[in-house]
């Protein structure tokens, strides 16, 4: 299967990999520099391996706090979105009901709304419910924003599962709910997992709504913390780099482990069929 690489392909691979990784690697190197090295003109390339910026980001800039907020918001969003999207996707994939094409098409349209057009009224709803500056106040719109993609991906996965097992179960008197939980869910575990990963990444990275809804630093998530990072006199580049590396590390691990599933999931909503 593997043959010697053609020079053109090898060049393409190198360009793609270096272009993707180099800019971020420079930022990673910066996070291991010392203050003197970061402010050197011209810049120095190799860091002296100092962990000072990590300590300062974690302790003085209270990064752990932001991490904890992000973990809570991203996990809650993922769980709720999956619990809500799974039965919807199952019904859309399997049950005989009218208007399925409309629902799927409508969800696709809603996913395309510019965020600014819903931001103002969402803010007002949350103000009335007392949801500003709370985690659940951010999780609710996140669930709504991630649902269309989750339903689309799961519908595609469910449609690809063989129908016979369920049919047999239904004939034996299983209800649609039982068929979903006993037969389809175990088979669709990879699809659920992929959807969970994509939802998690979305919620972990989202900035616009987090910026609007969480103005209290006690509640803010990592992207807001990193965007609003302030030093007393100068830009704290070293600390920003360290915080960025910490915020990105879980995502890099996820990508390295689940590259295949992510690629399948992203294209499931779009081109297949």
């Amino acid at each position: 299967m593997t043959k010697p690489l053609r020079p053109a392909l090898l060049g393409g691979i190198l360009l793609a990999v270096l272009g993707s990784l180099c800019p971020f690697l420079w930022f990673v190197l910066t996070s291991f520099k010392s203050q003197i090295q970061v402010e050197a003109i011209p810049p120095t390339w190799w860091p002296d391996g100092s962990l000072g910026f990590y300590a300062s980001a974690l302790i003085e800039h209270r990064l752990l706090h932001y991490i904890l907020n992000s973990v809570i918001v991203a996990c809650a969003t993922t769980i709720i979105a999956l619990v809500v999207a799974t039965p919807a996707a199952y019904a859309l994939a399997r049950l005989r009901m009218a208007g399925k094409a409309w629902i799927l098409g409508g969800l696709l349209c809603v996913a395309m709304f510019p965020h600014i057009v819903i931001a103002g009224p969402v803010w007002q709803i949350l103000e009335r419910l007392g949801g500003l500056n709370t985690h659940w106040g951010l999780v609710l719109p996140y669930v709504s924003l991630t649902l269309p993609l989750a339903v689309w991906i799961l519908t595609t996965f469910f449609q690809e599962l063989p129908f016979e097992l369920e049919e047999a179960a239904r004939i034996d008197g299983c209800t649609a709910w039982q068929a979903l939980y006993r037969i389809v869910l175990p088979l669709a575990a990879p699809g659920l997992f992929t959807t969970a990963i994509l939802t998690f990444i979305y919620a972990w990275n989202e900035f616009f709504f987090a910026l609007l809804i969480l103005t209290d630093p006690e509640r803010q998530t990592l992207p807001v913390g990193i965007a609003l990072f302030q030093g007393e006199f100068t830009m704290p580049w070293g600390e920003i780099a360290a915080a960025s590396v910490i915020a990105t590390l879980p995502l890099i691990i996820i990508v390295l482990l689940f590259q295949r599933g992510i690629i399948n999931g992203l294209s499931a909503g779009a081109v297949k069929g």
Binding site: I13, A16, F24, T30, G120, S244
Partner: protein
């Protein structure tokens, strides 16, 4: 008969929670914005109905014009570059070679990085004194260092660069999915006839790839229209208004200045512009996208 009624009821029960979420936090807000845009509302003033007054103001507002032009320029330039780079990436990671999994993972990393992190990263790399870009281009010649983000055109280019770096791989994945459905046999005849690799790409791959390319274009256009994070972190819309995209202008009007009526008018206009553009695309590709369900 009763069974199919029960199935329909169950179906609606299963779909209901998802639809409720979307109705409350997306549909209702969008409709509410349409209503709010017909009112004048400032901090400390009564809300009053002014019909299309806000829209009339928008037509006369030079800052809004500038924001629309910047956004359009950004969308056109970044999506074009992303499709070109995305196609190249897709062609590379579609090939079979040792280490393809690692290559795919590497290419996915910019997509997975939070946009805010990518923005801070490019802001640092393009820094006039400490940035690596100046160091690479000019080495020790410190006098030649360029303050990239202080120049209107360079700052605009920087936002495009950051977006292209971050999202080309996503476009690449959508295009890859298109490549994967082209059967290998399609190429065999052409190969026997002695077509070069370039001819095969131009006459076979590209025409068959059209739906995937249009889908990628649609997704990227919609996303590029709502660019916000990069601008917020890298330039705050500056220098001057050179990188003030429409979503940032709307955010400032709505949330910083508290001009609810005018702010929502800006956002509704973006919405309508985007809807028209999407419809235009969907008429060319979309029917295929939605027909899937029927199959």
């Amino acid at each position: 008969m009763t069974q199919s009624t029960r199935e329909r009821t169950t179906g609606w029960l299963m779909v209901f929670p998802a639809l409720t979420f979307v109705a409350v936090f997306s549909l209702y807000p969008a409709m509410d914005s349409f209503l709010l845009s017909l009112y004048s509302e400032f901090p400390g003033s009564e809300r009053s109905f002014i019909g299309f007054g806000n829209y009339a103001e928008l037509v006369r507002d030079p800052v809004a014009h500038q924001a629309f032009i910047v956004t359009l320029g950004f969308v056109l330039l970044s999506t074009t570059l992303e499709l070109l780079l995305g196609t190249s990436i897709a062609l590379v990671i579609h090939e079979r070679f040792k280490g393809r999994g690692w290559t795919r993972a590497a290419v996915l990393i910019p997509w997975a990085i939070p946009t805010v992190v990518a923005a801070q990263m490019w802001r640092f790399l393009l820094n006039d004194q400490y940035g690596d870009v100046n160091a690479i281009l000019f080495g020790d010649q410190v006098d030649a260092y360029v303050p990239w983000l202080a120049d209107p055109w360079m700052a605009f280019g920087a936002i495009v660069l950051a977006d292209v770096w971050k999202t080309s791989s996503f476009a690449g994945l959508l295009i890859l999915a298109g490549l994967q459905v082209i059967p290998d046999e399609t190429y065999d005849a052409a190969r026997i006839d002695g077509a070069t690799a370039w001819q095969r790409f131009w006459h076979i791959t590209l025409p068959l790839l059209k739906p995937a390319l249009l889908t990628a274009l649609l997704f990227r256009t919609i996303d590029a229209f709502r660019v916000f994070d990069l601008v917020f972190v890298m330039t705050q819309g500056g220098p001057g208004d050179a990188t003030q995209v429409i979503q940032f202008y709307g955010y400032k009007t709505l949330f910083t200045e508290g001009r609810v009526g005018y702010g929502t008018t800006i956002s509704v206009t973006v919405f309508v512009a985007l809807a028209i553009l999407s419809l235009f695309y969907v008429r060319t590709v979309g029917s295929k996208l939605l027909q899937r369900e029927a199959a």
